[in-house]
Each structure stands twice: as C-alpha cells, then as structure tokens.
C-alpha cells in the first residue's frame, strides 16, 4: 500500500472521528460561551491563521452577540463556511496548452521544497500520460543541478542542464527549446531559491520569465510558487513580492503532511487572490495532489472538535 493510500485512510479516519465527534458530543446542544470562543481562537492561531483567524473569530463573536450562534455544535459549520469562502477559486490543476509545450516555471524561497515538488509534479503529469522535460535552472545552490538530475533519472525524463554558475535564463531558454523540438507536452523549469526581499534576485526571476517568452510567446503559461506549509505569517509577503516579479498563477503548498496546517494561506488570501493548486503530502514521488479546500479546512477545524469532545467527555 502506498503512502498516499495510507494518508487517505488516515484522513478518512479523521473524517469519521469528526463526524462521530460532532454527533456524540456537539449535538448535545451545549450552550456557547466566551470560554469556548477563546479556545476556538487558540485553535485558529495555532494553525497559523494569524490576523485572518482574528477576523474569523470576530465574526464568531458578532454572531454570538446577535444570538445567531448559540450552541457549540453550530461552530464547525459556521467555521467551515467562513473559511471555505476565503479559499474560493482554489484547487484545480494546470491547463494544458495547445500547441505544446506548456511551460511551467517554479519558484520559491530557499528550502521551501521546490526541487522535490518539481519531481513530484513531473510524476503527476506523467501519470496523466504526458511527456515532460525538466530544466535545471537552479545553477546557484551547490549540487542543486545534481539533485534534480537524480530525480530526472529516477523518473526517466530528459533534463536540460548547464554547469553551476551558468545563466539560469539561458537554461530556461534551452529547456523550452528542447521541449519544442521533442514535442513534449510539458516543460518544468526549476529556479534557485531566493528570499523575496532580494531585489536583484527578483529581477533575475523576471528576466528568466522574459527570456522564456522570447523563445515561446505566451510562455511561461504557469508560474508556480512553492510555499513551505510550516511557514508563518511571512507567507503572505512571499506571495506578494514573488508575484510582483512575475505573475504567479498558482501555489504549491509543500510539506503539508507535517503537524503544520498551512493556515497562513488564509492570511495570504487576504492580500492576494492567487489560488492554491497543489499540496505536497509526503516524501514519495506520488505525494503531490490537487488542492482540496474541504479537507484542508477540515484539518484546521479538527483540533477544535477534539478539544470540545475532550471537554464533553470530562464533564
């Protein structure tokens, strides 16, 4: 059984637990009070929702004051609705462009999980029957090219690379070129990790994108920003500054299989409407999945349900 199946199973268990929890505990109709709302606040902040969490809590408090919310069991539904509304437009996949290739440029800060996400994305696209070419555009970090090369070998996909220190834009150009001549469906281009505050590196990203469009007008068709799900409120800054350098079309939320809930995405969406397209769930190649807002929100609400069922069991 693959890891993903395990994850799915675990998720199913969680769902079961939630629904059981909701039925047995919250349906008792316990009255809502300030203390419960405080606990809810803690749950949301602990999931990195930040000021977005603060806003949702304000909505809960207002609804409580207006006697619209009176019982604890009304909270999960209310919360889900509010949180889902903030994720509108998320999910989905990459639109395949005709004529091929579809050019996908991948960027992100250092250590966010770009290279691994690219390998997973390539595997994902291959599973759907597409041919893929990789471009090793991280010519800066020591051994980054080697890392992607190893992935390419394991995947059995061609990789376009140049020695370390080469101009990343020229690697991107060559990768698009190779994809065109091979008639590949997709070309995925890696870039070096860069902190969004480094202006010259942001300008470099802009240049890479520009050079790609010189080889193939209209490209890159997708610019995916890889975010580390354990990142806190800085996530919003990252999205904002990266999309200034090059129009980011979607987000990959990597490392979501950890204890981190990735709730900082909500803060990001307050300022920027870029959709989350994929989530990285594990260390294996097939652990990249299309983003599902519902299960994402469920995972955030879940600790509150557990807390409440614990409370109820204690009394």
């Amino acid at each position: 059984m693959g890891l993903f199946d395990k994850f799915k199973q675990a998720l199913a268990k969680t769902r079961e637990k939630i629904s059981v929890g909701v039925r047995t505990v919250l349906s008792i109709g316990r009255a809502l009070d300030d203390e419960t709302i405080d606990r809810l606040e803690e749950v949301l902040y602990s999931a990195d929702l930040g000021s977005a969490g603060g806003e949702v809590i304000e909505e809960v408090r207002r609804a409580y004051k207006l006697r619209y919310l009176t019982r604890v069991d009304q909270i999960p539904e209310f919360l889900r609705e509010k949180l889902l509304a903030r994720l509108e437009g998320c999910g989905g996949a990459i639109t395949k462009v005709q004529p091929s290739p579809t050019v996908v440029l991948v960027c992100g800060v250092n250590g966010s999980g770009k290279t691994t996400s690219i390998a997973k994305l390539a595997a994902y696209l291959r599973r759907q029957g597409n041919s893929v070419v990789l471009g090793a555009g991280d010519t800066f970090r020591a051994a980054a090219v080697e890392q992607l090369t190893i992935w390419a070998e394991r995947l059995g996909v061609p990789i376009i690379k140049k020695p370390n220190g080469a101009d990343p834009a020229s690697v991107a150009f060559d990768a698009v070129d190779a994809a065109l001549s091979r008639g590949a469906d997709y070309v995925i281009i890696d870039t070096a990790g860069r902190l969004h505050t480094q202006k010259h590196l942001m300008a470099e990203l802009e240049k890479i994108s520009r050079v790609i469009s010189k080889r193939l007008p209209g490209a890159p068709h997708e610019v995916l920003l890889v975010l580390d799900a354990t990142t806190g409120q800085n996530m919003a800054q990252q999205a904002e500054l990266f999309s200034k350098a090059t129009p980011v079309s979607g987000l990959i939320l990597a490392k979501l299989d950890g204890t981190a809930k990735g709730g900082a995405v909500f803060g990001l969406r307050q300022r920027n409407q870029i959709p989350v397209k994929f989530v990285g769930l594990g260390e294996k190649l097939d652990d990249l999945e299309a983003f599902d807002p519902k299960s994402f929100v469920d995972a955030i609400v879940e600790p509150f349900l557990e807390l409440e069922s614990g409370k109820a069991a204690a009394t």
Binding site: S51, N110, A142, Q147, N164, H200, T230, T231, E240, K255
Partner: protein, 474 residues
C-alpha cells in the same frame, strides 16, 4: 496596511497623561495590541499569552516617566522583558578540552542545515580551529554533493561515503533508502570522528538528514548518531520564517536529543522571527547564531535585543547603529560633518558619502532596520531604488577630479560628456548639480541658524516657514 505597534499603542494610551500610573484598566488595550503584534510575528499562541500575562505584572504600578510617552514606555518595558527572555540562557558554543570536538546538526527539511554546517565550519576556522565536515544525509538526493561543493569552496575537508545504489523497490523510490537508514548515518558519523583524529582535525560537524516533519524514523536515526558519536553539542537548525509549528518541532527535538541550542536561519528576509521566542520558551535553550544570507560568511552572533525589536515590529536600531559605525570611521564622520555644515562641500564629499552608504549594505536592508520602516507598505519599499543609487554613482564616476571639485564650473559640453559616459540623460546631470547647489545653500543657512541666539532663531524659523508657504513648498 498595518500601523506600527508604537502608533497603535499611542492611540490606546491617549487618555494617559504624565505622572499617571499604569493600572489594570488602562493597560488592557495595550496588552491586547502587544499580544496581537506578537501573534502576527509568529510567536506561538500560548507563549504570547503567557508572556503578556507575566509582563503585565511588571508593568502595572509603573509610573509614566516625563521623558517618554506612555506608549513608548509601555513598549520599552515589553522590549526589555523580551530581550531578557531571548537572551536568558545565552551561552557560547564551547570546544572540548580533549579534541576533536563533535557538533551534531539537526533540523527539519529545508531549514538550511547543510548551508549552516558550512557557515559554522567557516566561523570555527576563524576561531583558529581545524574543522571537518561530515555528510550524514544519505537521504536527500545530492545532499552529500552539496556539502562537498561547499567544502571545496571553503577549502574545508569533507568526510563522506558514497551511497550504495538504492535498490529500486515497488514500495517507492525512497523505500529502499529508508530501510536500514537508521543505522548507516551513525556509522558514517563514527568513522568521520576517527578520520578527524587521524588527520589531527579538532572539530567535526555532522550534517544529518532532515525530514518533512518530526517522525519516529528521523528521531531514531539522529538519536542513534548521537549515541554513537557522543557529540559535545547538539544544534537545532530552525527556519526563522516558521510559524506556530516551531513549538512542536523544537519540543520534539529537545525531548529526544537534549539540544544545546538553536541556530536561526534566513533572518535576512523580512520575517519578524517570532518563532525564536517560542523555541527559547519551550526548550529553555539559547539561540547560538543567526544566519543571514546565502554567502558562506553570513553567520552572525545572536543579539537578543535586536530580535526583540523585530518581533515587536520596532525595527532594528542597534544593528543600524553598528552598521553605521562599521562603515564610517570617527574622523571621517567629524570631517565630513564639519565640511557639510559649513556648506563648503563639493561633489567629492557627496560621492564619498554615497560610498559610505553603500558600505552599510543594500539600502533596503538598511531601511528595514529602521523603526517603523518594517511596517511600510511594500509599494513604498519598492521606491527605494538601488538602481538609482548606482546610476548616481555612475554620474560621479564619469566626472573628472577637477569637475568634482568645481561643480559650478561644469558647462554644457561637460554635462553632455558626463551624461554620455554614465549612460544617463543630460537632465540627470542637471538634477545632480542642482541638488548639490541646493544642499550647499541649505547647509549654509542652517549653519547661520545654529549660530543665532535662541530668540532670533525662533523669529528666523517663523519667517522661513511663512516664506515656504507662500512659495507653496513643503
């Protein structure tokens, strides 16, 4: 987008007047604002709550001082407490009396372990040590290659063992490597220590594998390495942009490995770094270093008071002052200041000032250190144009020494040549000369004002203000 903490606190305390005491009633709103600010800086929820509750006790009963506003005073008290807390357990990394010293580096994937290992080795060498880097990360593709490359760049030896070809298995590509992975790194670690003994190297830095999150396999692997190499320090590497999860991972690592301290990485970004407070709180272990930048030399000693300012959103004034001190020598400063104030400066002096500014580092980095600036909307930060500074520099460099000394003698032909030489339009040359002239005038005026008697000065300033208004100036 967001006001700085000081500004919102000022609003909260507007009812407080001098000689008032801070009471439960009037600090409530202030506490809420500080807690909000801590949460936005990624301090863990319960840590922020505890911290505020604790400081509240200290704050109450304090008399508002004449010299500062209640808001400043309030934030100052928090700043003091935060600094104390962040630096409470401060202890330098020590070397064993019986070499080689062994340091074990641990952390989650992507926290910056490998880069930090290299930075730390470079730092230790500066302290007169002979380090050996050891690649124990047989997990991530090309991690060994990365450490080797860094070692080559630094000319620091790296101990590694070629990974056996991973057996492809149906359970996935990583499956073959995961099995038995708990044993191998420990063996490599042991052999690395022996290698150091043999080559008379007195420090071994072990780079271990990271995982996506704290799991049993990771912990068993690192525990095994620890048990068999008996490191003198176990150092946790943490990404300073980490959110609330920092508490969980720090706790888990400390419980299993009894860490010595933490190194915070990627502090050169615009993160406020609240995770650091959570980590210090839950582990009770010091922060040893701060990693700033991609360059291998970018490891800074940790300064609690600076991080405290950052977490509270106050900017990093101390760093700025230090940077300025490094960039400007004292004589230079007095020299320039006298010249500038007399109004007798020329383009040479302006150029030298520009050079000193450059020595302080990228303008944006410097701006980010100023109080209140970290709260500026990004659009405004974007107007700080490094490119413009470089273009101005090009203008200076396209002038002859004589021209720099005699800005008012630069005629049209010279202007055109300077413009061509620096790749700027002639208007840019004109702008520069005009602003130099303006500055000279203003400085001369200022010097005159400084010498006036106080009464005369007030009258003069009022006149000037009226004058400005009439002209529609600022």
């Amino acid at each position: 987008m967001f006001e700085s903490l000081t500004a919102s606190l000022s609003k909260a305390f507007k009812t407080l007047t001098k000689n008032d005491r801070l009471t439960e009633a009037n600090v409530e709103e202030g506490l809420r604002l500080v807690r909000q600010s801590l949460l936005e800086a990624d301090v863990h929820f319960s840590v922020a709550k505890d911290f505020c509750a604790r400081v509240k006790e200290r704050v109450m009963g304090e008399k508002v001082l004449d010299s500062v506003t209640p808001a400043q005073m309030f934030i100052g008290l928090f700043h003091q407490e935060l600094t104390k807390l962040l630096g409470e357990h401060a202890a330098p990394l020590t070397f064993a009396s019986n070499p080689p010293t062994v340091w074990l580096m641990a952390g989650l994937q992507g926290s910056g372990k490998t880069t930090t290992c290299a930075k730390l080795a470079a730092w230790a060498r500066k302290q007169g040590r002979k380090p050996l880097l050891a690649a124990l990360d047989i997990q991530r593709p090309a991690a060994i290659e990365q450490l080797k490359t860094l070692g080559r760049q630094l000319d620091i030896p790296v101990y590694s063992e070629e990974p056996g070809a991973p057996a492809p298995s149906s359970s996935g590509i990583l499956g073959g490597m995961l099995s038995g992975g708990a044993v191998r790194p420990a063996g490599i670690g042991e052999r690395a220590v022996r290698e150091a003994e043999r080559r008379l190297l007195d420090l071994v830095i072990l780079d271990t594998a990271g995982r996506l999150h704290v799991d049993d396999a990771l912990m068993s692997e690192v525990s095994e390495v620890k048990a068999r190499t008996k490191p003198h320090a176990v150092i946790l590497v943490v990404d300073s942009m980490t959110g609330q999860d920092a508490v969980n991972s720090a706790k888990a690592f400390d419980a299993r490995l009894a860490i010595t301290g933490t190194i915070l990485t990627k502090l050169d970004g615009d993160t406020r770094g609240g995770a650091a407070l959570s980590i210090v709180q839950v582990t009770g272990k010091p922060i040893l270093f701060a990693g700033v930048g991609e360059k291998i030399i970018d490891l800074e000693p940790f300064h609690p008071e600076r991080l405290a300012s950052r977490i509270l959103g106050m900017g990093d004034v101390v760093s700025l002052v230090e940077k300025a001190q490094e960039a400007f020598s004292e004589e230079e400063v007095t020299d320039t200041a006298t010249k500038m104030l007399s109004g007798n400066f020329d383009l040479d002096d302006l150029y030298q000032n520009l050079q000193r500014m450059k020595r302080m580092g990228p303008l944006k980095k410097v701006m980010g250190l100023l109080p209140g600036m970290s709260g500026l909307p990004p659009e405004m930060m974007d107007q700080i144009d490094e490119g413009r500074m470089r273009r101005t520099e090009a203008l200076f460099l396209s002038m002859t020494a004589w021209e720099r000394k005699n800005p008012d003698r630069i005629d049209v032909a010279r202007r055109q040549r300077i413009a061509r030489g620096s790749g700027n339009p002639v208007s840019a040359v004109n702008d520069l000369l005009r602003s130099c002239e303006q500055m000279r005038k203003q400085m001369k005026q200022l010097a005159r004002v400084m010498q006036m008697a106080p009464k005369e000065r007030t009258r003069f300033l009022k006149d000037m203000e009226r004058d400005m208004k009439r002209r529609g100036g600022p």
